[in-house]
Each structure stands twice: as C-alpha cells, then as structure tokens.
C-alpha cells in the first residue's frame, strides 16, 4: 500500500512546526492566517503609498515627489488596496470562518486552497518588484486603454501590472471555486441554505461573483498583455481597435468587484450586530435576499462608470435606472441592521463600534454614490476628488472598518486571546476621526473642481486648506494603525486566555475551543435552526424569538465520517510548486519583446521552465494521495 509510482522528488512535510510546515500546510485556518498577515503587510505598504500621495498634495505646487513617481504611487495604491488588501483580507476571513460556521473540518479542496494562497503571494510579490525593476505601473488602477499601450506606457510597468493581476486572477478563481463547493456541499447535517449564518451567505455571493467576474478581467488583461508583448491589435486604434472595449470589459468585471469588496464586510457586521445587541438579526430572509439581489443586479450597472464616454442617451438612461435600483437592496440591509440594533442591550466594545462606524460611513458613501447615478451630475463629478471621496467612504469607511470589526470579533477565536479593549477604542476613534478628516474635505474639493490624479495644483485655487486637513487626517489614520499594531503585539505577548465563547456568540464557531483544534469539530454538529448554537445555550428563548417549538437540544450525533479517528488531509508541497510554476510561466512572457518582428519571436524560455515545473507539480499533486499513510 505504500508504493506510489510517481517519482516523489520531494517527500511530504511531516513536522507541524517551522517554516516548511507553513509552506506545506493545507489547513484552512493556517492558510487564513497567511492570507491575513500578507494582506495586513500590503495594507501597510498601500498606506505608505497613500501617505506619500497626501504629503505631496498637502500644499500647492509641492515637489516632494515627481509627477512620474506620483503616477506610480496612485496606481499601486489603488491596485494594492483592492487586490492585495481587501480581497485577501476577506479571503482570510472566508478561510478561517466559513468551515467553522458551517460545521466542516476543512474546505472542499484543501490543496487547491493552499495553491490559491501561494499564487496570490507570488503574483503580489511580482507586481511590487516592478518598483525596483524599472518603474511600477503608472496608468491608474483601472488601466484605461490605450494609455496602457506601448506608445503611451513605454517600459515594463504596465506589463508587470497585466501579468501580475493575471496571476492574482487565477488565485482568486481557484479560491472562489473552492468556497462555492464548500458552502454548497459541506454544511453540517440540518443546516439548510436558509439556516446558514449571513456571513456564509455573503461569502457564497461574493465567491459566485468572483467565479464569474474574474474571467472577464482575465480576458481583458490577456488582451492587454498580448498587445504589449506580442503586438496584437486589441486596443490599438491605428488598426481599428476600440479603447472603449477595454472600459466595457474592465467595468463588467469592475462593478461586480465593488460588491466583492463590500459584501464580506456586510456579512461580518451581520454577525457582530446581533451578538453585541443580544438580539437575533432583524429580517434574516430579507438581508439574505438583498445580498443575493445585489450580487445579481451588480451585473447590470457597469456603464455608470462610463457616463461621460458618450454611449448615448438610451444606454445612459438604462444604466441610471439600474444604478438607482441597486440602492434599494443596499438600503434594505441598512434598515435591517438598524432594526437589529434597535432596542437591543448594546455591548459597545471595539468590534461593535467598528460595526456601527461601518454603517454610518457606508451610508454617507452610499448617498454620495446615488448622486452620481445621474449622468448630468456625474458629468460634473467625473474624475474629481468627489469620486475619490465617494469610493473611500464605501471602501475604507465600509470594507476596512467592517474588516476591523471582524478582526476584533474573531481574534479570540483565531488566537485564543482577546485584543485589548482600551487600545481598541483608541484605535477606533483615531481611525474614524482621521478617516473623516481625510476624505470628508474631498467632497468639497471635488465639487470645487479639483481633478483626481494630478500631482500638484496651483496656488490660489482655494484648495490649500482642505488638502492640508486631508493630509493631517491621513497622518491620524497612520497613528490609528500604529495603535492597532501595538495592540496586537501587546495581546500576543500577554498571557491571558480567551474563553471558547467570549461574546455569547450565536454561530457554530463559538461552540469549539479557542483556538480551534486542527480538526475543528470533534463531532460534526447537528443543526436544527438558524443560530443553532445560541438556542442550544438558551433553549428557553427558542419559542419566544423564533416561534418554534422548544426541543431539547440534541447537538451531538455520532460522527458521520465513521470510526473514531478523524481523517484530515495531509500536508503537501505540491500546491506551492504548482503556484511557483504557474507564476513563472506567466511572468516569462515578459521576455518577449514587441519590437521584434513576429517571424523572429524567440521562445520565452522562462515560461517553458515555469510550465515544466508546474506540470511536474501537477502530476505530483494528482498522484499524491490526499491522506498520507499513517498520517492524520
């Protein structure tokens, strides 16, 4: 039984500690930690980029950085915050919490999960290496053609961007397939779809959006990459190519992407608000339906990013209507959260404060968003700081505050220690005030005519004061992040131990030890109702709150996977190998030069090496049994 015909050049990792155990890990909790730590490091990098941008704009006619560096900074700030911070931070919570909340022992495909993380990591490292290899991408985070063509973007920056994001796209696709299958297939017995926690629902909608939206951007990036390295004509106006095609493809991905960024945070506060209000979530079916409707309607609004392109009154009207309509399900959610908090016994800890801050800031961002649903007003706001204000209120005030709420909420479950509350409150208030100081004045600046993406502005435009306030606010945000880091260090070095269920939680992850054992659940739970764990603890409330018959809780049933010992997938290096191979395979295309006539094109040897390594890893992966002999 021990023979494996495929030559095992690398043996399976066996130790559960040390560097190699992290490289070989397939445990969803460890992969979640890797995602979280990486995303936080990129949050710092993206934040430093933002601070330099704000430093440059703090006074008129400043020359702290050159316009060229400024272009690289705002391009990489946007790309970093979207693809390397909010998305992977959401993925960190999906990884950690989805299996725990649905009562599963791991995701459906643990090795594919590891592959997703490593591909993500290599893609981000590659993209950021551009800073040291001839200049980072500088054409903006939505990389409009034909500014991204070789004519207007000579050098390798945009090629780094196109190829790096392609790698990240593969990583996201693999992760989304994994989570869709996990959520649809691996719920604990009795947990029907409408008994899933809202966070899991939002994870499902987000991952469906990812699975369908990432291919569209992948195609656009492949077309751009081919234009740049092989000299194809997709976005080349001299050959009849249409730059507006890029905009359609980008925003057909880009608008669902907006919901990919916000739905996880919406799921998080839908968990924290009921727990800290000591009430069931108000209108669970409505909030689930609203999330699903947002996921569906998100596909029919993309051209509101293109109102000033000149698509004509018919298209603009249609997209105005759909854009205004999508505010309805979002509003439904806001009212549901308010209904949840209303009359509750509020427990105002840091996580709850971030959750409430999320609602308030997201409402402001949502309202300014409705104003540019109308093409005439949008024509005034397009490309001004008003737009910058809007999307930071939904992405920072929304996603980032929501993710911090989740961080404080789940920290005890993930690490077995609670983050400090007094530092947490300092963190919250400095961040909230700093955030509003930074982005509040941008509404004024934008309506006053200050364009985005300019590296400096003339004196006497009336923009100096607001810009100075915004820069001060950005520094306050930096202070708040420092407070958070100190809080984390203090917490890690403290000796305290959190309870298994410190918040009197409602969902299954609180029913197991903190931090959870490798196998999560010693026995797979049996689910009878929504918030099953809560009613297991408080059976007397079942009748009052849900109008259901009180049943004596019978949480345990013999493990359906049979026979005492729990089989967990064993560690494997192959996902790491395949991710390296695939990344090198894609990166190798940089070798091809467009200025060489197509008849003389040389083989991109680096790509060949990458493909060989990837195929070897893939074969190893296929022929390696999921569970090693005698492993557990």
């Amino acid at each position: 039984m021990t023979t494996i015909a495929f030559p095992t050049l690398i043996s399976r990792p066996t130790s559960y500690t040390g560097l190699w155990s992290w490289i070989g890990t397939v445990d969803h909790k460890r992969i979640g930690t890797l995602y979280g730590v990486t995303a936080f490091l990129y949050f710092l990098i993206g934040g430093i980029e933002a601070l330099v941008i704000r430093g440059q704009l703090s006074t008129a006619e400043n020359d702290m950085v050159s316009p060229e560096i400024f272009n690289q900074l705002f391009t990489m700030h946007g790309t970093t915050m979207v693809f390397m911070v909010v998305m992977p931070m959401s993925a960190a919570f999906f990884n950690w919490m989805v299996p725990l909340m649905i009562g599963a022992r791991d995701v459906a495909f643990p090795r594919l999960n590891a592959f997703s993380y490593w591909a993500f990591l290599f893609g981000t490292i590659f993209l950021n290496m551009s800073f040291f290899l001839g200049g980072a991408p500088n054409a903006g985070w939505f990389g409009y053609a034909n500014l991204t063509g070789n004519t207007y973007s000579p050098g390798d920056g945009v090629t780094f961007w196109a190829l790096g994001l392609t790698i990240l796209g593969v990583a996201s696709l693999a992760a989304s397939f994994n989570f869709i299958v996990t959520i649809l297939n691996m719920r604990a017995p009795g947990m029907s779809l409408m008994k899933m926690p809202v966070f899991v629902w939002m994870a499902l909608v987000t991952n469906v959006l990812l699975a369908l939206a990432m291919p569209v951007i992948a195609v656009a990036l492949i077309q751009l990459g081919l234009d740049r390295v092989l000299g194809t004509n997709f976005f080349n106006p001299l050959a009849g190519g249409d730059p507006v095609l890029w905009q359609h493809l980008f925003w057909l991905f880009g608008h669902p992407e907006v919901y990919i960024l916000i739905l996880p945070a919406m799921g998080i506060v839908s968990e924290t608000l009921p727990v800290f209000s000591k009430k069931p979530l108000f209108g669970y079916p409505a909030i689930v339906l609203a999330g699903a409707v947002i996921g569906f309607m998100g596909w029919f609004v993309w051209s509101h990013h293109m109102f000033t392109v000149g698509l004509g009154p018919a298209a603009n009207s249609a997209f105005t209507i759909s854009t205004m309509l999508i505010a309805v399900p979002t509003g439904v959610k806001i009212f549901n959260w308010m209904g949840t908090v209303w009359g509750g016994k509020l427990h105002l800890n840091t996580s709850m404060m971030f959750s409430l801050g999320f609602i308030a800031m997201f409402v402001i961002g949502g309202l300014s968003g409705v104003t540019h649903a109308s093409p005439p007003t949008d024509a005034q706001q397009q490309d001004t700081y008003y737009i910058v204000a809007h999307f930071h209120y939904v992405l920072f005030g929304g996603s980032i505050l929501g993710l911090f709420a989740g961080g404080y909420y789940w920290w005890p479950k993930m690490t077995g220690k609670r983050l400090g509350e007094s530092f947490g409150k300092w963190h919250f208030w400095t961040m909230l005030i700093g955030f509003n100081l930074t982005f509040g004045p941008m509404h004024w600046l934008g309506l006053n005519g200050m364009p985005r993406r300019i590296s400096t502005y003339a004196e006497g435009m009336g923009w100096e004061t607001s810009n100075a306030i915004a820069t001060a606010g950005a520094m306050l945000i930096a202070v708040s992040v420092l407070i958070f880091i100190i809080n984390v260090i203090r917490t890690i070095s403290s000796k305290q131990e959190a309870e298994d269920d410190p918040w009197d939680g409602r969902t299954l992850e609180w029913s197991i030890p903190s931090p959870p054992p490798a196998y999560n659940f010693a026995r797979i739970p049996q689910v009878k109702s929504l918030d099953d764990y809560w009613y297991t603890k408080h059976p007397e409330l079942l009748h009052d709150e849900r109008g259901e018959q009180t049943e004596s809780p019978a949480p345990v049933e013999e493990d359906s996977h049979g026979g005492g010992s729990i089989h967990l997938p064993s560690m494997s290096y192959y996902p790491f190998v395949v991710a390296i191979g695939m990344s090198i395979g894609i990166i190798g295309f940089m070798e091809i030069r467009v200025d060489i006539p197509s008849t003389d094109l040389q083989l991109p040897w680096l790509s060949v090496v990458g493909i060989v390594v990837g195929m070897w890893g893939l074969l190893g992966w296929i022929f390696e049994p999921v569970t090693a002999e005698g492993g557990h």
Partner: protein
C-alpha cells in the same frame, strides 16, 4: 500508481454532500460556468471587431469553410465517442471504455491537427496576430479554444493509460464523467465559434464603415 488510486477510492465516499453531487463534480460545473464568461468575453470581442479590420487579409480571403466543416465534424464525433465511453464505463466494460476514451483523444488530436494546418496556411497567406483586428481576434479566440482541446486530449490520454487499468471503480467512472462534462462544453463552445467566425463572418470584407470608424477614433 493504480494502488495509490485504490487507496484514495476507499476514502472517497461519493456524493456524501448536501447537494448530492460530489465535490469534484460540482467543482467541474462551477469551473465550466466560469469558463463560459471567459469564452464569452473573447467571443464578444470578436463580434465587436467583426468587419472592423482596416487592412487585409479579410475573412473571406482566407477562411476555408469546407475544410473547417470537416474538422468541426470530427470534433462533434468525438463527443459521440465520449458518450459511448461513459456508456461502457457505466456498464463496467473496461476494454470498450478504454477504446472509446482513446477514440475521443485521437479525434481531438485530429481536430488540433486541422487547426495547426489552418494556422500555418493563414500565416503563409499573410495573416498573423499582428496583421489586423481579424488576425488578432481570430488567432487568440480559436487559439484559446485549441488550448482547451489540447488540455482535454492530455487529460484523456493520461486517463486511458494511467487510470483505466485493472478494474473500473465508481471513482474512475466519475473521473470520466467529469472529463465528459469538460469535453462536451469545449465542443459546444466550438459550435458557437464556428457559427460566429465561419458561418456569419464569411462575407466579412473591406467596408466603408471601417474607415469612418477609424477616422472617428483617431479624431480626424
């Protein structure tokens, strides 16, 4: 190898899931849904740029419908062979299963051969990915489809020689079912591509609107 596969089988309980569909098969369905958007975007690009090339060779100068009809027929027959392979797999007839899996792979390889022939002919006639919009969109769209066929052929060959030895198991039958889903999908995509490029596009040639379009973009 075969032994390693057997070890897995004993652990792999089929369809012990909420949906009743095994994780692997559901993964294939989700992947295909995602792939629809991938091909959809390339096909949409092709349609947007139909008749927009500013220079030749134009589609009606190079496309050879009779030859591609033959290769399309070959690809469609490979789907029939796939149905037969699965049919015999479910009837537990290993020999016939292997025969028809190999038939699918061979027919797929013949299709790829036609594609290589077509690509070389076009390049000899002066159509490359750099020539014009038709060249760019044609080669990249059909190229990515050909890449999908190639992956399918490699998968099926691997299956026929490594997997379908000894005895059929429920797991290997499910593997074949997944390969079948993939193969039929790639076939359906080809039917759309054949319609869009060859049948609709055959009359495409130089048109006055392309020059107007170019003028409007360049701003002249």
């Amino acid at each position: 190898m075969a032994q390693a596969a057997t070890v897995q089988e004993q652990h792999g309980h089929i369809a012990d899931t909420n949906t009743g569909i095994s994780n692997r098969k559901l993964l294939m369905w989700v992947f295909l849904a995602s792939d629809c958007l991938f091909f959809g975007s390339f096909i949409a690009t092709y349609l947007v740029y139909r008749n927009e090339s500013l220079a030749g060779p134009y589609p009606n100068e190079v496309l050879d419908i009779p030859i591609t009809s033959v290769s399309t027929f070959v690809l469609l027959m490979s789907s029939l062979a796939m149905v037969l392979a699965l049919h015999y797999a479910q009837k537990d007839q290993l020999g016939l299963t292997r025969f028809w899996i190999l038939a699918v792979a061979v027919l797929g390889a013949i299709f790829l051969g036609f594609q290589v022939f077509e690509f070389t002919t076009f390049v000899n006639e002066g159509l490359t990915i750099r020539s014009n919009l038709f060249g760019t969109t044609f080669f990249i769209l059909t190229g990515f489809h050909g890449l999908h066929v190639l992956m399918g052929v490699l998968w099926l060959l691997g299956m026929a020689f490594a997997h379908f030895k000894g005895a059929l198991t429920s797991r290997s039958v499910e593997d074949l079912e997944m390969a079948g889903l993939y193969w039929h999908f790639v076939d359906i995509v080809w039917i759309i591509i054949f319609t869009v490029i060859y049948l609709i596009g055959f009359s495409d040639g130089e048109g006055i609107e392309t020059i107007e379009h170019a003028a409007s973009i360049i701003g002249g």
